[in-house]
Amino acid sequence: MLDINAIRADFPILNQKVNGKPLVYFDNAATAQKPKVVEKAIIEYYETINANIHRGVHTLSQLATDAYEESRKKIQHHVNAKSDKEIIFTAGTTFGINLVANGFSSFLKKGDEILISAMEHHSNIVPWQFACERSGASLKIIPMNEEGDLILEEFDKLINSNTKMVAVTHISNALGTVNPIKYIIDEAHKVGAAVLIDGAQATPHIKPDVQALDCDFYVFSGHKICGPTGTGILYGKEAWLDKLPPYQGGGEMIKTVTFEKTTYACLPHKFEAGTPNIAGGIVLGYAIDYLNGIGFDKIKAYEKDLLDYGTKKLLEIEGLKIYGTAKEKTSVISFNIQGLHPYDIGVIVDKLGVAVRTGHHCTQPIMDFYGIPGTVRASFSFYNTKEEIDILIEAVKKAKQMLS
């Protein structure tokens, strides 16, 4: 088991009062808190080696470049990519998906199909709608059932030789469903389609193995895995990244520039125009080290325990319904109480020190599917405790009593 007291001591933000009550932070699916090692690494970078990278011959620039590239290697090993050329630093998941969708649209034509799922975050819907608008391709949707599982029989019917891209989330941010992405990837490859996996919600809980998965692209955000905001990773198979046109033009991404013609830099720099978030990229490596130091197996088991406990306790509240009851799910509980609006519940529990997310969670199609305006979402991390879940339960009960 985890040494929870030691872990909580790594996160100073947790040890404070909000609205006069001890903070219970259950909005981890939105962003994770940062351990001291990450905070320290940011300060240390700026105090010791801050310089622009890949440009200077001076020592600081070299040190910063080395640290940045070392972090890239660390991330390569973390996701088990074949080469560090396949690891592109981005500003986050949204940026990564837009980069791929934008470039991929140049390969598409009328009659081609892009397949996404009914439980995608808006950031894995809208970039593909852009790609369809540009290319004349059409967007198809893998439906889901009441439990929040994808209906694979429908996926089997939808996938065909016109399918050029399948873009699905590894884990649903609103429901917590873990999707059978290995099956989806294999079936997509049988018809020659590329596959992008949105790993934003998976990477806080799972160490992805991109070679075992055999996905073509895997994107995730740094801030959800205890790293800084404005950081993210796009993994792409080298062959795909070679083929994909650059997204942004500028410094760093070029080999030669004349007014007549520009040739592009090699991977990964082809996709990293301009001065990147250097501190963020370096520190992301520290965040990943921190999580691996605890161990993803332990994190998974601990969070499963919190999920089971939270689910059981919440369901004891009369009139409470949980959305997303897939067999395989992560520590996300989306719920509503009959007759009450999620916003009202969210405001009251916040007054009691409990931070949850309310609303549509950037997944309006899921809310439309259930015919609800939104949900209250409590998402647990490895630094949360059962005692905190008890506080949530009491807060929700209080909200129910005040609002009913």
Partner: protein
Amino acid sequence: MTIKEVQQEIIDEFSMFDDWMQRYEYIIELGKNLPLIDEKYQVEENLIKGCQSQVWLHAEDKNNSVVFTANSDAILTKGIIAILVRVFSGQKAEEILEADTGFIDEIGLKEHLSPTRANGLVSMVKQIKMYALAYQAKQ
């Protein structure tokens, strides 16, 4: 009563409450009790979509003043709508345009009128002012 007078009246009412819970219970009561809008006006074109809650706002001209009715799907939002309607409805267009909503801070509900809340209330106040502007132009 002028807008300022109504606002002062509300501030006085809220000064009787000791803590947030009493204030919220009062807001919830306001939200529960009032029939705030005629059903025929609770339609798409009167809808102000917030990220968190939705607000419907209807305005009409009556005896040289602007009468507002409004509603929300969330009860806390609805309670604050009741307060805003009490302040702005039935007032002259030019007075509505001049008025501010600083009194909301004084009654300890500042966060509900914050642009980051995305509950539709900030847009509602903007819309109230737009209607007042339109009525003023008509006169």
